[in-house]
Every structure is written in structure tokens, then in C-alpha cells.
């Protein structure tokens, strides 16, 4: 039996980590689906109808799993973090309710039409439904990230009382909800979602090109669209991420110190390429002496402040209120490493494309296959930096996670549901992956003029464009 605080933290981390896979893919796929639907409705070739149909199947399946795992999160604040919910519901609950009203209703009702109503509505209404699904999914992200960014950089409130309890009371909705952090987060997350989806579909399409000659034009079309999206999003993430880092340094110095494993406050702090704890009793929060590291002089200061001799506040200044920063340090490096790989991959593909040999480079295709899930992995790592880097706070400098847990929760109850979620979500994720695999194996429907020769190449209607 696990302590209810620890079990609640693990359960929330696990349920969120599994959930985010699905909205990342649906938010990322949505713009592609709008594009294909638009081309389909315009009559630019049957291939677009097939692209839309095939990827909408995967989108629909993913959306369903995203919905059912997402509803858990909406209730988990109340079940496991009742003290947190009472204390900040007057600010934090608003964006969640608004997300449902403004975004999720729009997305999920229009999804019904988009997935099942092709023959029930006009072309125009069908295109509108695709657009509104995409809009709804992105608006969902707006409100979820407004809520999350308030946890990172709380503003627009004061402490007051309600029914005898100390609670956060909103004083300025604009300051509370439109924090600078929100804009950094939203742009970073949405580009990450598009990039993840592009890698996902390019990986699947490359797998099909490598393993079968069937309908290769369909898969080539997929890869081209994905490469265009990668070329836009991958470099954007690097440039934006760099500036985002300086914002984090200005607003959450403890998190920045965790990212760089900076123990002592110093000017010209080095950028550690790696850092390992040496004391086996203190693996997560090693002091300067308990760590071996190799660093580039002044690198961290340059990245965090824009100046070689900029001052970085060290973790030692925060007493016990520091995160298990080795996790943050390594998650951040893995994320950045993946980001650099995505840029390389995008430019590599662009170079081949320019030379007219995009589909002749087997190594590139294998790299795409290997990278199909890496975009989502980078999103997970990024969220680990964001969320673990804020620990032990739930609301930075206002409320600790351990003070937010439901007071009446027993270790037995919390352990029981934790075990249930570990098992249940493993089954859910595996079944999802299995069905995606089956859908990919079956591939898209044959073009209409080709039903008699199912093994032929799917390019007939493509070349007719």
C-alpha cells in the first residue's frame, strides 16, 4: 500500500501522460484533415477523399480514446486533489468549465458529422464540420493551457476566505488567464502537436512504402504533406523554445536551475552536456559536490539570460522546495536532442525532395519509421520538464502538491485506483496501437477505377490531377 499523496501524484502523472498522447495526435492531425477535406470538396482528385477517409479513421479512433481518458482528468482534481480544488477552484475551475462549453462541445458534436455524416450533409457543411473540429480541438488547448499556465505563473488573485477556508480569490481575470506564459506554452504545444502528427503519419507512410508496393502514390502524398509541416514546425520549435527558455528563467528561476542543474547561484553558469549524481542516496537532487558533469563555460547563462555573464539563481537558494531535478535535467536534454533530430530529418527530406529523389533514400524512410512516435515522446518529455520542474508546488510558490491532496483519502483507496489505472490504461493503449496497426496494414480503400485490380498502384487518379 502506498502513501495517498504519492499514489495520487503517480496516478495523476500516469493518467495525464497516457491521455496527452491522444490529443497531441488529434490536434496535430486536425489541420491535415481540414486541408484534405478542402481539396476533396474542391474536386482536386479522388486521392484527397481517400486521404481524408483513411486518416479520419485513425483520427476518430484516437479522439475516442482521448475523450474517455480526458474525462478522468476533469474529475481527478476533485477525487485526489480536493484541497487543491477547494483552494483554487474559483480561478482554476473557470478555464476547465469554459473548455467544455466553448471548445469540447464544438469539437465533439462536429466530429459526429465529420466522421459519420459525409452523405448526410452538403459538401460545404462537411468542410465546415472539419474546420470546426479542428478549431474546437485547438480551443480546448487554449483553455487547458490557460489553466496550466496559471499554475506556473499565478497572477490576478489574492488570498481570501470562503466558508471559513483560505482560498485564492480572483481579482483580475485578464491578468489571471492571459499570462505571458500562456502564449509561450500554447505556441510551443500546438507546433509540437503538428510536428508529432507529421512524424506519425510520415512514419506510417514510410513503413508502407518499405513493406509493400501497393498504393504507393497514396503514401507518397502523405509523406510530402508531412515533410512540409515538419519544415515549418521543427525549426520553429528551436527558435521559439530558445526564447521560451529565457521567459522561464525570468518567471520560474527554480525550474530553470533544475533544467540546467545549476546548484550554486553564479554568473556565467556552464551549460552541462551531461551530469550524473555520484551519491547513491541522493540520485534526484545532488548538490554540486555530489555530481559529476561536463559543461560548456557560460553556456547556461547565455541560454537563460542572453548574456555570457548573466546571473543564474542556483537550486541551493530554494531550500527544500526543489524538484527532483535530475529528471528535469535529463528530460530537457532528451527533448532538445529529439528536436534537433527532427530539424535534421526535415532538412534531409527537403534536400532529397529538391533533388527529385525523396522516395529513393531508404535510410531516410527507415529514419521516418523509427521517428513515428518520437514527436509524441518529445511532448511527454517537455511536459515532464514543465510539471516536474514546478515541484513541489502545484501552484508555483502558492500551494504545494502535498497540501492539495484530498484529506480523507486513504492509502488503500489510492493504491487500488492507481493499480486499476496502470492496468486499464495499458490495455487501452495497447488496443489502440493494435487497431491503428490493423488499419495501417489494411491501408486506404482502393481508388474507384481500380477495384478489379486491388494490388495495382494507387496513383491512377493522382497522375490525372
Amino acid at each position: 500500500m502506498v502513501d495517498p499523496v504519492l499514489a495520487s501524484r503517480i496516478q495523476f502523472a500516469w493518467t495525464t501522460a497516457i491521455h496527452i498522447i491522444f490529443p497531441t495526435l488529434t490536434m496535430g492531425l486536425a489541420p491535415f484533415l481540414v486541408y484534405w477535406t478542402w481539396k476533396e470538396v474542391r474536386g482536386d482528385g479522388e486521392v484527397y477523399a481517400r486521404l481524408r477517409r483513411f486518416w479520419a479513421k485513425i483520427f476518430g479512433l484516437t479522439f475516442v480514446v482521448g475523450t474517455v481518458t480526458g474525462i478522468v482528468l476533469e474529475f481527478e482534481f476533485g477525487t485526489n486533489f480536493a484541497a487543491y480544488s477547494s483552494a483554487v477552484g474559483g480561478i482554476f475551475g473557470g478555464p476547465l468549465a469554459t473548455e467544455g462549453l466553448m471548445a469540447f462541445f464544438l469539437e465533439s458534436t462536429m466530429l459526429g458529422i465529420f466522421l459519420f455524416g459525409r452523405n448526410r450533409v452538403s459538401d460545404r457543411m462537411y468542410l465546415v464540420s472539419a474546420f470546426l473540429v479542428a478549431l474546437g480541438s485547438w480551443l480546448s488547448a487554449v483553455w487547458i493551457l490557460i489553466a496550466n499556465s496559471w499554475m506556473q505563473t499565478p497572477a490576478g488573485f489574492e488570498m481570501g476566505t470562503r466558508a471559513g477556508q483560505e482560498v485564492a480569490v480572483i481579482t483580475d481575470p485578464v491578468a489571471a488567464y492571459l499570462t505571458p506564459r500562456f502564449f509561450w506554452m500554447f505556441s510551443h504545444m500546438q507546433m509540437a502537436a503538428v510536428l508529432s502528427a507529421a512524424l506519425f503519419i510520415a512514419g506510417i507512410a514510410s513503413y508502407k512504402l518499405l513493406t509493400t508496393d501497393d498504393r504507393s502514390e497514396f503514401w507518397k502524398k502523405t509523406i510530402k504533406v508531412a515533410v512540409v509541416a515538419m519544415l515549418i514546425t521543427a525549426p520553429f520549435q528551436a527558435v521559439q523554445g530558445d526564447a521560451y527558455g529565457r521567459h522561464v528563467h525570468d518567471t520560474q528561476p527554480a525550474k530553470m536551475a533544475a533544467i540546467e542543474a545549476t546548484w550554486e547561484t553564479q554568473t556565467g553558469a556552464p551549460l552541462y552536456l551531461f551530469a550524473f549524481p555520484t551519491n547513491p542516496d541522493n540520485l534526484m537532487t545532488p548538490t554540486e559536490e555530489e555530481m559529476i558533469a561536463l559543461g560548456i563555460p557560460n553556456g547556461a547563462s547565455l541560454l537563460a539570460t542572453g548574456e555570457l555573464n548573466g546571473e543564474m539563481v542556483g537550486l541551493e537558494e530554494f531550500g527544500d522546495d526543489i524538484p527532483p531535478f535530475m529528471l528535469v535535467f535529463w528530460s530537457f536534454r532528451a527533448m532538445v536532442g529529439l528536436g534537433l533530430w527532427f530539424i535534421l530529418l526535415a532538412f534531409w527530406a527537403a534536400y532529397r525532395w529538391r533533388k527529385g529523389e525523396l522516395f529513393e533514400d531508404t535510410l531516410l524512410q527507415k529514419s521516418f519509421v523509427a521517428s513515428a512516435g518520437l514527436g509524441v515522446l518529445a511532448v511527454e518529455l517537455g511536459w515532464m520538464v514543465t510539471e516536474i520542474g514546478r515541484q513541489p508546488w502545484a501552484i508555483q510558490d502558492v500551494l504545494r502538491v502535498s497540501d492539495g491532496v484530498s484529506p480523507g483519502l486513504t492509502g488503500g483507496e489510492a493504491t487500488l485506483t492507481l493499480v486499476g489505472f496502470v492496468l486499464g490504461y495499458t490495455v487501452l493503449l495497447s488496443t489502440w496501437a493494435y487497431i491503428v496497426y490493423r488499419l495501417v496494414r489494411a491501408g486506404p480503400d482502393a481508388p474507384s477505377d481500380e477495384t478489379s485490380s486491388p494490388t495495382a498502384d494507387g496513383g491512377v487518379e493522382v497522375s490525372a490531377e
Partner: protein
């Protein structure tokens, strides 16, 4: 209006706290009506043998359930935003029950989607059984939750919990039977029979619940005997009979609406019996549970702007899928 006054006085001087109390219950009622009919289809899915009807049932649910489930999400979200102590207290005190609800909802949601992915009998049977189980257990546990809320209990298994659980299950089946026949080209006599049986069962169970509240729950007797509560019970009985007549005569759309009004009646009764308390375990009353005036005003603006749009989305969705399921529709 000056920003300062938004922090001190409710918009237009309206009684926003009471209004939001009503909104919370309306959201729950919308969920139990619209998604309840999907639960009902899932319940009947286990009782109907005709494969064609069963496929039509799945095809009827497919485009709708994702949207209708959001009413529950908004119920939770609105309670979080406006009555956070109630959200926190109810959900944490009914900890295991909440996860039973969520587990049933997860299974109900994914199983029809997964079922259609393979066409061999064993795969379809497993997900079919899970679809029926999720669709039955979700309303059952929601009923237990409602009973616990009303009488201030946190028990996972109690007599009132089981009875109200069955109340919500039978009501869902009543809605689902009407909705199924709306979606069939040829109305099914079997479905009509089940609808009638569930409607009678609902009336019996609902009256039993009211009787139980009158006899055994402290402080309820006077409220149960008030004209409003008795009026709701009488109205439900009349609507129940009307439902049976409408269903048997093939007017499934009107039967579905009749079932909906019964749902709103049930939830109105719960809200009425609870008021002015909102969280009986702590004896918390509505006014004391509400967030600050400014937060309330902000949420009200959001609601006023988006609720009409939400209703429009549902009108568009249900209109697009009006009438019987067409050949080739569904997953």
C-alpha cells in the same frame, strides 16, 4: 459597467448563485437525457437478438455519444468553477464510486469503436458484452452518486443507492427504447415491449425512492409532501403513461421527448429536495459554497455567450442525423 462593480455586485443584480445551482442540475439533466438514451441503447443492445437492429443501434449511437458525454464534463467543470468545495467534497468522499463511473464510461465509449474493427465472432462478442456492461453500469453508478449526494451518504453500496441506481438505469432504457425506434426504418415490437416494461419499472422505482425519502431520511418528509414535489411525481406518472401510448403507436420521437421531460423532472426533484443545502455531508448551503462575485460574473458571461451556441451545435448534429439510420452508416 465599471470593473470595480463587477467584483462587488452580481451582473444586473441577478441572483446568480441560485441561477448557477439550477444550471448545474440542468447540465446533469441534459446529460442524463441525451447520453442517457445512448446508455439505454447499450442496455437494450444486450436484450435484442436481431443483428440488423443491433447494427442500427450502434450506428445511431456512433455520431452522438462523444458530444452528449460532454454534458457530464461540463457538469463537473461548472461545479469546479462555481461550487469548488462541492466538487472537491463530493468527488473525493465518493472516491471509489467516481472511478467506477469513470471506468464504466471508458468501457462504454471505446467498446463500440473497438468492436467494429474486427469482424470475427469472439472479438465482437467481447466488445459487445463490454458495451452492454459499460452502458448499464455507468447510469447505475451515476444513480448511486445522485442518491449519495442527496442524502449525504458516501456508501458504495446501500439500499437507497441501489434503488436510485436502478431508477437511472431504467430511465436510460426508457429513453434508449424510444431513440432506437426513432432510428429504425421498421419499428421493432420487441423494443416497444422493453420500453414499456422499463417505463413501468421506472415509475415503480421512482415512487419507491420518494417513499423511502419520506419515511427514512431526516428532514425530507415536509419537502416530499410539498405541492412542487408531489406535482412532479404526478407529472411523471402521466408522462410515463403517455410514453407507453406514444411508443406503442409508433410516435417514437414524441416518446423520446416525453422520456426527456421525465428526466428533467427527476433532476428537478433532486435539486428541489436538496436546496438550500448543496452538500449535506458538511451541511454546506448554496450561498456559502459559491465562489467570489467576480468569478461568478465571469462564468455567467461565458455561459450566456456559449450556451446558445452549444444548443445550436446539438440542433445541427441531431438534425444531420434525423430519421432512420441509412444503409452503410455507422462505424
Amino acid at each position: 459597467m465599471m470593473p470595480l462593480s463587477l467584483a462587488d455586485t452580481y451582473l444586473l443584480g441577478l441572483p446568480l448563485v441560485e441561477m448557477w445551482y439550477v444550471v448545474i442540475f440542468l447540465t446533469l439533466a441534459m446529460f442524463l437525457w441525451l447520453d442517457g438514451s445512448n446508455f439505454g441503447i447499450g442496455i437494450l443492445f444486450g436484450m435484442v437478438d436481431d443483428e440488423e437492429i443491433k447494427e442500427s443501434m450502434l450506428a445511431a449511437v456512433a455520431p452522438l455519444w462523444d458530444g452528449t458525454e460532454v454534458w457530464l464534463i461540463v457538469f463537473g467543470g461548472a461545479m469546479f468553477a462555481v461550487f469548488p468545495d462541492v466538487y472537491a467534497g463530493l468527488f473525493s468522499e465518493n472516491y471509489l464510486l467516481m472511478f467506477l463511473i469513470l471506468g464504466a464510461l471508458i468501457i462504454r465509449g471505446v467498446s463500440p469503436e473497438f468492436r467494429e474493427q474486427r469482424h470475427d465472432a469472439s472479438w465482437q462478442r467481447v466488445w459487445g458484452v463490454l458495451f452492454v456492461s459499460g452502458s448499464t453500469l455507468a447510469p447505475f453508478f451515476l444513480g448511486v452518486f445522485t442518491a449519495n449526494w442527496l442524502i449525504g451518504s458516501t456508501s458504495l453500496l446501500s439500499l437507497p443507492g441501489v434503488v436510485v441506481g436502478l431508477v437511472v438505469v431504467t430511465l436510460s432504457a426508457v429513453e434508449g427504447a424510444a431513440f432506437t425506434n426513432m432510428k429504425l426504418e421498421e419499428k421493432s415490437a420487441t423494443v416497444n415491449t422493453y420500453g414499456t416494461i422499463f417505463q413501468v419499472a421506472y415509475l415503480v422505482l421512482a415512487v419507491t425512492t420518494v417513499g423511502y425519502l419520506y419515511l427514512f431520511v431526516e428532514g425530507m418528509a415536509a419537502k416530499v409532501l410539498s405541492p412542487f414535489a408531489l406535482g412532479l411525481v404526478a407529472l411523471t406518472a402521466i408522462l410515463g403513461i403517455a410514453y407507453i401510448v406514444l411508443l406503442q403507436s409508433g410516435q417514437s420521437l414524441y416518446a423520446f421527448v416525453t422520456a426527456g421531460v421525465q428526466t428533467f423532472g427527476l433532476i428537478a426533484l433532486v435539486g428541489f429536495l436538496l436546496y438550500p443545502t448543496i452538500y449535506p455531508i458538511d451541511g454546506l448551503i448554496v450561498q456559502d459554497a459559491a465562489v467570489s462575485v467576480l468569478a461568478m460574473n465571469v462564468m455567467t458571461v461565458v455561459l450566456v455567450i456559449f450556451l446558445p451556441l452549444v444548443l445550436l451545435y446539438f440542433a445541427v448534429l441531431y438534425n444531420a442525423f434525423r430519421g432512420p439510420v441509412q444503409a452503410g452508416e455507422g462505424y
